[in-house]
Symmetry: C2
Subunit: 362 residues, 2 copies
């Protein structure tokens, strides 16, 4: 599609005018179509370690001796829009995913990367250590082709395979599901929340003060990153699934579900207290059962939502500022485990924008 | 950095004016700084296969039975600039690399992704099947942490470890080398030029007519992609390292080097002939030895350059349009195995732009 100069110039002028106003309340997206104005973009590695083998390197007969290996870093791709808002957003994906989670949706619409660029935020997308383009792991692993598509369909609450939930915010074209399945990418080393949050902390040191978005398994490393680095100024967590950390003596009981048990994790009081200093909001989607059920895919989330409520209570009991939004409670229905790429992802982005405005994070 | 509206609007106007002219000769980059005007961006998977396990899927006791696995696709990230030129550029990385190869340079400057966006081309960056964000492989593999940094330093002709070549176009800050080493990412399945070129062909069907840039190991799959899909309208190959294909009866002898032997590969006459229909240009950098040497890192490239010359001769003998540019021969010195991210990468991009203009690919 080509847009005539006169049209896109007036769009550009409109963007500029909007950008000069700085309201404390959410004033709607700056421009929802037309060209993105990108001041700078690029990628780099952050954090990680270096393994060094003893001995002397023989240039002409290379072996392990004297050689090094760089691994356990993360990879970040950033885009800074023209007239950027001061606080960037760093987005961390969940299990079996990469930064791909925040790019185009499976049905080809704009994901949170581009939606929040349009709203004026610098956006940093992460491939966590041992995933995607940050594949070099200091710990070995074997990969096989374990078939998990149907498990993912259930567990990510698209429906109960092979049926979609009636109200699901997921496009039903077969090619959309194909794209969704192909967004999956494996761990290239053991999952390690400590390694991930170390690299994330190195990233935050590079980026400076920022808001952190996390998804699913990224929730746990997200809390740890905020503990390790004061540059995390707020967290927006989409469907955190594990890594709920509590101070000593306050761990809730282990919870059984049809998908296995969910255990809280212990952290020092000092570290826990650090999470009370920043605003935190947690979003969960739809089709959670109210009562225990044998439906594995759904029951898995019943207990995670329950644990998240206890976690928010604990944060606030200690003086913190956490909020949990179960989207159906505010009239938003049908969201899967990926609210940021569901059919109503602009509505979800609007919710997030309101939170950022309210907390003056924009 | 903030730019005042008046300044960036005049930049935008200047860009528009340049974009309306469509010269057949290279007229210099459109704008080398200031904001990028991106009409659309996003990502998707292309190609790949699906494994299906027999049996019935039990939603509440998931096992392999009845489940599927999607793998062997590629991942592509695209950006379409405002007032785009008609032929996009698709960029395919080499061994141990991902689309990262074309993004920021290791010292943080703009790589070919952004340089060619600035020159008005839609740009598609690929993570090939079984690499990076396209990690799902239908064939199992074991990953370890084999230390290869020093081998890469030599083999990618940065120097002879630990010394840089005197004239090398590679920034010598330690953090640059650290970033370079961290651009390495492993195969998550066996390397397979057939699998890669199948997925690339699926991508080209989606993209339409395009120019293909390849790097190093990507050279071989690049030729195969052009054989499989007539949408490849030209190839710009940076330091192709293997996969030189010849028609029956014309295979040159296997060549020994200090880094092992290099073998030509056979392809049918019909397939070979398809490569004679498109313009092809191949670039090699500096610090190649003229004569056989025991220096492994350099000798490795002596034979690849020699084989590439024979390959270009074969293409042209059959009526094709291939050219090999050994950069020192045209007065450009010090390039490593990564000319697209070397210190002089804008000069290299200018060379490529001249080729694209000459062949009316812009």
């Amino acid at each position: 599609m080509k847009i005539k100069p006169s049209l896109w110039l007036s769009t550009a002028i409109a963007v500029t005018i909007l950008a000069t106003g700085c309201a404390a309340t959410f004033d709607g997206p700056r421009h929802t179509s037309g060209p993105l104005l990108i001041q700078a973009q690029g990628s780099f590695a952050a954090g990680g370690t270096e393994l060094r083998n003893s001995g002397n390197y023989d240039n002409n007969k290379p072996a392990a001796a004297g050689q090094s290996f760089h691994g356990d870093h993360l990879y970040a791709f950033y885009q800074i829009p023209q007239n950027a808002r001061p606080l960037p957003i760093v987005m961390l994906h969940g299990a079996f995913q990469s930064a791909r989670s925040w790019e185009s949706t499976s049905d080809g619409r704009e994901g949170f990367q581009t939606l929040f660029l349009r709203r004026g935020f610098p956006v940093y997308l992460v491939d966590q250590p041992r995933r995607g383009r940050a594949g070099n792991s200091t710990v070995a692993v074997s990969l096989d082709s374990t078939p998990n598509d149907q498990l993912f369909f259930d567990q990510f609450r698209i429906g109960k395979w092979p049926n979609y939930f009636d109200n699901v915010q997921f496009d039903r074209k077969p090619e959309t599901l194909d794209q969704f399945f192909r967004s999956v990418t494996p761990n290239t080393g053991p999952y390690d929340a400590g390694v991930i949050s170390d690299a994330m902390s190195a990233l935050l040191t590079k980026v400076g003060p920022a808001t952190l978005f996390t998804h699913s398994q990224g929730g746990g490393p997200g809390w740890l990153t905020a503990i390790k680095n004061a540059n995390v100024k707020a967290i927006v967590a989409f469907e955190p699934g594990s890594g709920f950390i509590f101070p000593p003596g306050e761990l809730p009981p282990v919870v059984p579900s049809a998908a296995g048990t969910l255990s809280p994790e212990a952290v020092s009081s000092t570290d826990f207290q650090k999470l009370t200093r920043i605003p935190i909001i947690i979003y969960y989607g739809d089709n959670f059962p109210d009562q225990p059920t044998t439906e594995r895919g759904q029951d898995n989330w019943r207990v995670r939502l329950a644990m998240a409520r206890l976690w928010v209570d604990a944060i606030n009991r200690h003086g913190g500022h956490a909020r949990l939004v179960h989207l159906p409670d505010i009239g938003i229905h049908g969201n899967t485990h990926f609210p940021m790429s569901d059919l109503n992802n602009v509505e979800i982005a609007d919710q997030v924008s309101r939170f950022l405005a309210e907390k003056r994070l924009d």
